[in-house]
Each structure stands twice: as structure tokens, then as C-alpha cells.
């Protein structure tokens, strides 16, 4: 049935339009040809020549000076920068010595014969070449001008190509079915971050889902076998840096699959779609348990591009005669851990160290002690006087300390100590790099699977109750199924996260396919009202196959590929961190008449009602 056809080496970008070539295409081999180019005036000099730009590049156009072409000269000399023109002319070699080696079209120029100004550009509110330095708000307001930059053109085109390659891999190579699922649905339990959409039925609302989770499971129950979707998802988190109210995920679900199957699929997918200029990728990706990640890196998304791993020094300190330390270590999850900052004495200022300690205190309520390795190899620290010579060398050996290294040490609850040190580890890395140390290779690609997450976590506001670590459909680890009924806090899950260079770029799980087990998790463990999920519970009773899946965060993935710090640089029309579209001014006020069909009205605070009246 499938007869995927011939795929050309390079797409024909000149089909169906007036131009014969793009502005990035012409080379010495084209000399003598008559060509028609369409583009924007990038630069024009004294009526002699101009540089024409389109999405593919720049071409130098020679403005004719003879009387017969005075009309062309006038047109091209008078059109302002960023005006749109069509030029027809003959490709010529540049005079010897005037070739521009930096320009792919630098061997040639086009001698204009005829020209038309397709649209004039009004004076711009700023110089376009300095645009990038302008405030982000201004770039957002004039997003269509920002989109003309080579960086954004590259980002959006690369995004399109990567997604296309992913589709080829999934559809054409592995038989996945691209299924569109609804975005107008209803609240999921705990879906506090879901946007609401008023319906015409009084008091009833749709909700914009955070992911197609329920639908993709129902597709498996419906026998679709292999589903994927480049899915638009919605999350209303108010203002948060580098989050978007709508975002895109590569959403995948398979029947009759296990964790390893999904992992191999994703490794193959990324290997196939990874841009050649950022590759190659080595597979399989390494794997680490959640407990290892927490113990060694203090986070579930370790940046493994550099060391500075967390070291457990409990055994060394346990022997110290320090009441505080003994006390801490006597608790069930009490621990003492440390990280070693190479050359910290030289690269970190005193105030850096102070602010690191303050951060640990304010963010994690964790005291930090520093230990410095003096030039003579001795340790300087409040702790030193309690350490015997043997313990000092054990300490130095355990942390592999060198002269001028700084160790940050923390004692207390395992989770808190690890999280604090994990956070300090990343902050120190940034500080070291800012001070000139070469720590992380910018070209390095450290993919990592993090597995064996806990299935449930104590609720922050009430630790005696449990909540899902990810979502209530996650299956327990096959070895821990019995624990589900005896000690759910100890159950590991079949959830897996994919991490790239310390960023979570995807996550998924094998799902519960047994109705009884799902009901037990919802009702007995999570104490949730399962009524809102009755359709899914019922579906599980009618022959649900074992299934599992994953979702990759496309925006973050592409921003990592192009090396952009913000996902806003890989989205054509992003919202500001306050969720506003600064170009079109959304969201916006609507009239009471427009609200009427939806049977809602706005609860204006008294002050604003007053202001509106005036």
C-alpha cells in the first residue's frame, strides 16, 4: 500500500514562482545566464550596486549606469533598504581581485537589465543590523522583521527539517500512524494548569490538555498499535521564564512494547533525524537510576559533560568527635556529602563562595561548609581541627583534591543535601566557565536515560499523603508490583526520562493496562475521585493491550540543537514570559456581548470597574 516515492537530493525552491534562482544560489558556473531574483535590499551604495537578500543568501546586483537603463537605475537607487525588488539580469564574474571569499555567491554579480520595486519599505523604527541588540520586547513587537535574520531563518528551517526526518523515521520506516487528537477536552484530575474554554452550554467548559496522554492510551486500546503526533500542548503556569503557554511535543505510544523497546526507538529516531552538522550520535545512550542520579549529581537530570560529582563522606566524618555531625548522621536518611571545585581558589571570588552558601541556605535550607586545599597540601576549614592527619588524607583522597581546589560540604537529610550540592555544582560550573575555565565542550552531546524513578512521592503540603511522581497511569516496576499493595512509597516505576546535557528533553513510561491495578492506584493510593476517569478505566476492561510511550519536548530539543539559550528562538511567534503576544497584543479585552453566548462575565475588581467607567 505504502509507496513512498523518489526523494530529491535538494528541494526545488524556485518552482511555481517568478524567480529563476534564489539569492544564495548563483556561482561561477552560472556566468552568462539571464536570471531573475526576488528579494530585499540589504544594502545599496551610491546608485552603483546593491546587495539583494532572501532566505538563502545574498547576491550583489550591479546597477546599470548607461542612459538606456536610467529607469532601472532610478528605481534601484531610490528604493529604501528592506524594500522588495525583482531584478532580471545577466550573471557575470566579478572583476579580478573583487571576489568575496566570505560570500558563497562572492565570485559573481548580476548586471541588472530590468527591475521592479514590488513593495517599498517605510523608514524602519531602528537599524535592522543592530536589531539583535535591541530589547527582546522590541524584537517581539516586530517579530516579522526579526524573522528575516539569518539566525531565526536557520532555526525555523532546521526545526522543520528535523521534524520531517522524525516523521520519515516513524511513518515510513517503522509504520507509526500520525493521529490527531482533540485539544478541546475536559479537565483531568489535578489539571490545575489547564486553560479553560467556555462552551455555549451554561457552566460547561472545555479544557486545553497538557498532553494527549489519555487519547494516546485510548488509541492503543483501539488497536492503532503505533501512534505518534507532533502535538500542540497547553499549560497555564502564569509567568515563568522560558516556558510557553503552548508548546509542542513529539508524542509517541506503542502497544506490546517494554521500556527497552521505547528507548531503542528513541535512540534510532534521534540518530536518524539529528542534523549532520551537529552529529553523529552514539547509541545506545547510557542509563542511570534515579537514585544514582540524585546521589551523584543531586538532580534527576544530570549534566554529565563534566565531573565534580557528589562524594559521600559520611564514613569519614562519622568518626569525628563533632556532636552536630554525629547527630545528623544518626537520622535514617542522614548523610554528609561534598563536591570538589577544581581550582576554586583561583577561579571563585570570596563573594562567589558567600553567595553560593547563601543560595543553598535560602533555596534548600542547607548549611554549607567550605574546605580549601592550601598550596602546601593542607586543608583550611572550620572542620580541620577535628580531622586527624589520617582523616585529612582520606578526605583529600575521597574528593581527589588538588592544591587550590575548594570543597563544598553539606550534612543533613540525603535528599536535601544532594539537591543543594547538585544545584551548587551547576552554579560553580557556570562561575568557573565565566571566569575562563574550559569545563564543558560546547559540541559535546551527553544523552542519558534516567530510570527507576519512584512511582509515588509524598505530597509537599501533606507528606502523609502520596501523589504520582509523574502521572497516575505510570506502571510499577515489574519487580515491585507486590510492594504496590504493601508499601507504595517503595515502589519504583517504569518511567524513564531522556536527558541531554543536563536538560530533560523527554519522558515516558510503560502504562498500567490492568483496570483493577489502575483503579487501586487512583482510589486507594492516590485517594482521587476516579469518576472523571471512568471512561479510561472502563476502556481498560475491554481488552487493553500492554502499552507504553514517550514524549519529547520539541522546543527545548531544537533550542539545544541550534545552541540557543531560549526556546523563544526556535518558535516563530513566541509569547513573552507573561504569556503575552507583543506583536498582536494578545490576550485582549472583549465586549460583554462577545461573552454572552458563553454565559460568563468578568469579575472586575472594584478599582478597575471604577477605572473603566472613567
Amino acid at each position: 500500500r505504502l509507496s513512498s516515492g523518489w526523494v530529491p537530493r535538494a528541494p526545488d525552491v524556485n518552482s511555481f514562482v517568478a524567480r529563476t534562482n534564489t539569492c544564495g544560489e548563483l556561482r561561477a558556473a552560472h556566468v552568462g545566464q539571464e536570471v531573475t531574483l526576488c528579494g530585499w535590499i540589504q544594502y545599496q551604495r551610491q546608485g552603483l550596486f546593491l546587495v539583494l537578500r532572501d532566505f538563502q543568501g545574498l547576491t550583489q546586483i550591479i546597477i546599470p549606469q548607461d542612459e538606456a537603463h536610467s529607469h532601472v537605475r532610478k528605481l534601484l537607487s531610490n528604493a529604501p533598504v528592506e524594500s522588495v525588488v525583482r531584478v532580471t539580469g545577466i550573471v557575470s564574474s566579478r572583476p579580478p581581485g573583487q571576489e568575496n571569499l566570505k560570500m558563497p555567491t562572492g565570485d559573481i554579480e548580476v548586471k541588472a537589465e530590468t527591475a521592479e520595486v514590488l513593495n517599498f519599505c517605510k523608514k524602519l523604527p531602528f537599524e535592522i543590523k543592530d536589531f539583535i541588540k535591541k530589547s527582546e520586547a522590541l524584537r517581539m513587537q516586530y517579530r516579522y522583521l526579526d524573522l528575516r535574520s539569518s539566525q531565526l531563518q536557520y532555526n525555523l528551517r532546521l526545526r522543520s527539517q528535523v521534524v520531517m526526518r522524525m516523521r520519515e523515521y516513524l511513518c515510513n520506516h517503522h509504520g507509526f500512524v500520525d493521529v490527531e487528537t482533540p485539544t478541546l477536552f475536559k479537565r483531568t484530575p489535578g489539571g490545575a494548569k489547564e486553560f479553560l474554554v467556555p462552551s455555549r452550554e451554561v457552566g460547561k467548559f472545555y479544557s486545553l490538555p497538557q498532553s494527549p496522554q489519555q487519547f494516546k492510551q485510548l488509541l492503543m486500546i483501539g488497536g492503532l498499535d503505533r501512534y505518534f503526533q507532533v502535538a500542540r500542548c497547553y499549560r497555564d503556569e502564569g509567568s515563568r521564564p522560558d516556558r510557553q503557554p503552548e508548546f509542542t511535543q513529539i508524542d509517541i505510544e506503542m502497544s506490546f512494547v517494554d521500556q527497552a523497546g521505547i528507548q531503542r526507538l528513541i535512540e534510532g529516531l534521534l540518530q536518524y533525524s539529528w542534523p549532520a552538522e551537529r552529529g553523529p550520535i552514539t547509541t545506545p545512550f547510557p542509563s542511570m537510576t534515579y537514585e544514582e542520579a540524585l546521589a551523584d549529581y543531586g538532580t534527576d537530570k544530570p549534566d554529565t559533560r563534566f565531573g565534580m560529582k557528589i562524594v559521600d563522606i559520611s564514613d569519614i566524618l562519622r568518626r569525628l568527635d563533632v556532636g552536630f555531625v554525629q547527630n545528623v548522621l544518626s537520622y535514617p536518611r542522614g548523610t554528609a556529602k561534598a563536591i570538589c571545585i577544581p581550582q576554586g581558589v583561583r577561579y571563585l571570588k570570596n563573594k562567589d563562595l558567600e553567595s553560593l552558601k547563601e543560595a543553598a541556605k535560602s533555596q534548600f535550607n542547607q548549611e554549607i561548609m567550605d574546605v580549601i586545599c592550601r598550596p602546601d597540601g593542607s586543608l583550611k576549614s572550620l572542620l580541620t581541627k577535628f580531622l586527624g592527619e589520617k582523616q585529612q588524607s582520606e578526605f583529600i583522597r575521597a574528593l581527589n583534591m588538588q592544591v587550590d581546589d575548594v570543597v563544598l560540604l553539606a550534612a543533613g537529610d540525603h535528599k536535601r543535601v544532594c539537591s543543594a550540592l547538585g544545584s551548587l555544582r551547576l552554579e560553580c560550573a557556570d562561575l568557573l566557565e565565566a571566569a575562563g575555565m574550559v569545563l564543558r565542550d560546547p559540541a559535546a552531546l551527553h544523552f542519558l536515560w534516567v530510570v527507576d524513578f519512584p512511582l509515588f512521592l509524598p505530597k509537599e503540603e501533606n507528606p502523609s499523603e502520596l501523589e504520582s511522581a509523574h502521572h497516575p497511569f505510570t506502571a510499577p516496576h515489574p519487580l515491585d508490583t507486590d510492594l504496590l499493595y504493601s508499601d507504595p512509597t517503595k515502589v519504583r516505576s517504569q518511567h524513564y526520562d531522556l536527558v541531554l546535557n543536563g536538560n530533560e528533553i523527554g519522558g515516558g513510561s510503560i502504562r498500567i493496562h490492568n483496570a483493577e491495578q489502575q483503579r487501586f492506584v487512583l482510589e486507594k493510593v492516590l485517594k482521587e475521585d476516579s469518576e472523571v476517569l471512568s471512561h479510561l478505566l472502563e476502556a481498560l476492561e475491554f481488552g487493553a493491550p500492554p502499552h507504553g510511550g514517550i514524549a519529547l519536548g520539541l522546543d527545548r530539543l531544537i533550542s539545544l540543537i541550534v545552541g540557543s539559550p531560549s526556546i523563544r528562538d526556535v518558535i516563530a511567534f513566541p509569547k513573552s514570559f507573561k504569556g503575552r503576544d507583543l506583536m498582536g497584543n494578545a490576550p485582549d479585552y472583549v465586549t460583554p456581548e462577545e461573552l454572552e453566548p458563553y454565559h460568563i462575565h468578568v469579575s472586575w475588581p472594584a478599582a478597575e470597574t471604577e477605572a473603566k467607567k472613567n
Copy 2:
């Protein structure tokens, strides 16, 4: 840069999972192999054999009867229909004479060696094979069961493949960039059908756009050159048959293109992506002006698979001495037209004729007169006595009447007469076919471009004011630009519709790229407040290239390809015609607390407030 790789002939649907083969794959060539299949029990007979089903087909499994396999026999005999099982066994030839020629796997059977019931199926609320005959509401409620039907599996898989082929054509062959545009935006002028999404800013709402129209134009202004998107669109029309609140369009925009360029692109796109079993398609598609379509077919989306065209008989009737006719024809757009229903006397009942006339009266306020051709070739009609012999034969010749044909005749305003006859033409075709006449070839594909639409139409509620026939960004026909400023009612547009077998499957236009012209249309012709579009007007001033595009309605297109009467059959989780999801029960009530962050509350009608209290 683009290095689109090797595309396999057929996808590997068994990668990454436990099975070795699908249930549709095994043939005589596999005999002797050990295979593992996963699927649903379609049918089981007396513990002797069962039929296993997955998305690709059916395979017969022989249940072992010997003592050594008693466990397997017990498992497979006791699992209810629609349970999910995994079976491992040896492929064997069926005994001679027991081959099933109707089944692709009918030459073989699998002798089960081991088996596992992966999930039991509870008793179904109905017999699954009769499911299709159940009410649509029941099918919607248990959509995941409906999805297991071979028809829905086919529809969704074909949809995925067609879209994939379209992407290959656009991305890989013609360099289009797949750009995702926001769905949280703001109201467009006249966007009364846009869903609202409350934001956390008091009184401010996002809106879910009906199409990415503004964004795709802004992308062209941003130099993207060639954009496409399989775009989710939203339209809140309340209850309408065969419309969905969310739907999908293939959205395309190009710079430096003209109408013919877009038309050739779409013809190539459809030709490339059309499924082989429904092809081939002949290009270029024929083209017809809006005026021709209205005059000949009474509609802007003519079904050209059959004749019965509207014939102008004004000249014949003008010479009659009938006051009423003379009066009608004396009006500026007065006309008399008719359609000839072949064999109408034999295929249409008297009550059919009566209800056709009533429909014309009630829907179009148009009187219809019938004329019958008697077996002796004479005409029977109220009109006959006014027609001389010469006029009778002129009449017969003009309409190409045969014995037993029925002519429906209407006189009055051109638009009204044509619309009424166009509607009757379609109703008659349905009646003739229902009565057994072969009129339209179900395999026929009549693509048609309809062009030269009027740019503006008189508003229905106030004919002295104008509104856009399509949308305010449509460019005027190049020959009519001057008329825009003198007599806008006469201006033709550069809008084009694509029609397939009488269904509009796409529409687009060349857009206005000149800021002044756009401002004139918005402010002077349409008298709209251009403030809400200030960002677009401003963008047009900063070097907007000439551009145009089109959108294809994907749901309708796929439903025509698979021959389904409703778009609900090509959507995985459609809403009911009242906009409800009957499976998950959306939309639904939310708590006042959930509304609080959005500063809205529900205006309950008094009665419902009362009911809620009790």
C-alpha cells in the same frame, strides 16, 4: 544540508516489540517458522481454534489438544472474545481443502506452542460485529472499540499516509518550511465564531483562531518564502451537522507567486499524495469563473460529474404574451431558467415533484413550474397554452428534452433563480439515483477550480453595506484594481476555490501586499476599525513581498477519498454535532475555585441556579 535518506519500500511494523509478525503477514512462505503474534481474540470455537486480529489482519490459531499443552488450551479456550493474547507457535499449511481464499493469511494457520493472556476483556455492552449498526451515540461513547473496526483503521492509516506524502512533496521536493503558529491569539475583526480562552489578566481573553491567516502572511513578510502547516483550526458555530469545533487544514503560503502558481502547486500536491487505489488524477484541473458556475450550476461548488445544467430560456419566454414573465424579465437581473430532469416522469413520483417545488419556495422564495414531455413528444405544462409550436420546439431543443423528461422552470432574479435551480438539480440527482438511475460514477474525480469571485458582497442584513466575500486580505483582480476606488461592488478578486465532486475542499487567494490598499479596503470599503489589525498594516509597510496561498480542508478531503459520508469517520475522536465528546463527557462543569484565577464567573439562569441549590 538536506539529506533525505533512504525510504524503505514498506515500513517495519514489528520493530521494538515482542511479536515477530503481525496477524496480516503470514503466508505459505512462512510455513515451518516459529512466530510470535499479539492481538485480540476475534472468534474462538469449542477450544479447537481461534482467530487472532490486529491492525493488519486475521490469523487462525490452532489450539493444541494434547496433554502437554493443557495449560495453553485452558488459557485460550477460556479467554473471552476481544481479550488480548500473545501466542507463539509454528506456521503450518492448512489441511488441503481448508484454505480460505478470502483471507490473505488463509493458506496457513499457527499451531500454538505457548500463549499468554495479556488482558482479559469484560463482557462487551454489545456484540462487536453488529457495532456498526448501533446508534452513532453508542459508537462515540465507546470510540476505542469502534476504532478497532477495519474501516476506521483504514481511514486513520490512510489519512496519516496521505498527509505524510503531502509533507514529502512540500518539504522534500519543493522546500516548504513547516512552521507552527500560535493557537492562543486574539480576536480577529468579525471573528464571532472564535472560541475564547480566559487569561489570568483580568478581563483579557485569548481567542482560538479559525485559521493561521494573519500568521502566515506575517511569515511571508518575515522572509520565510514558502510556508506550510497541517494546522489545527477552531470554529465555534454551535450545533451544525458534519462540522467540528476543531478541524485541520493543510495551510500553505508562498511569496512571489501568482494564482496560476498556487494552482499548479496544489495540482502537483494532490497528484503526488493521492492514494494509488483512488487515482490517478489528471492535471491541470479545469477552471470555471464564479459567474459561469452560478449561471450553469447555481452554486460556487458545482458537481460536474453529471449534466442537468441550468439553461437560460429568457429569449424564448421573452416573446410570450404572459404579463408575469414580461414583468420579471424587465428587471435588470431578471431571467428565466430551467433544468431538464432526464426520465423524470418515470423516476420521480408526484410527491417528489411537489416537495421539490415546496423546497424552492421555502428556501429560496422561488416559484417553480414543471414541464413534462409526453410520449408523443408534446409538452404538458401550465405554460404550454402560451407557447406556439415553433416556441415549443425551440424550448425542447434548448433543453434537449426527450420523451418522459421533466423540466423545472423558474423566472425571477438571476441569483435567486440560479441558486434555486442549482439546489433542485442536486436534489433531483439524489432522487434519480435513489430510484435506481446511474447518474454519477462513484469512482469519478471531478476536480474544478472556481475563480474570479466577487471581492465584496452586499451584507445580508443591510445590502447598502459591503462585506468581504472571503476575507479582507484578498487582493483584487489585477484588471479590476481601478474599480476598487470607483465601484467596489464590481471588483473581482484573486480568490480561488478548489472543488471536488461538488464539495469545496480548499480555497485561497493572492493577498493584498500594499499597506495603502489594505487600509483603503478595511476603512473605506468595509468601514471596519483597522486598529485591531494595526500590527498587520504596519508589517505591510516594512517590505512585504507579494504573496498568496491556500488552505485545503483535510477532514473533508480524506472523507471524500475514503468515500465516507461524514468527516467524523476520518477523525479519531470526533465531537457530536452538539460539540460534545460523548466518551469523555466534555465540555463539563468546573468548580468556582477553578474559575477564580481567570476572574470570570458563570451567569446561571435563575432556574438553573435554583436547581443547583437543591
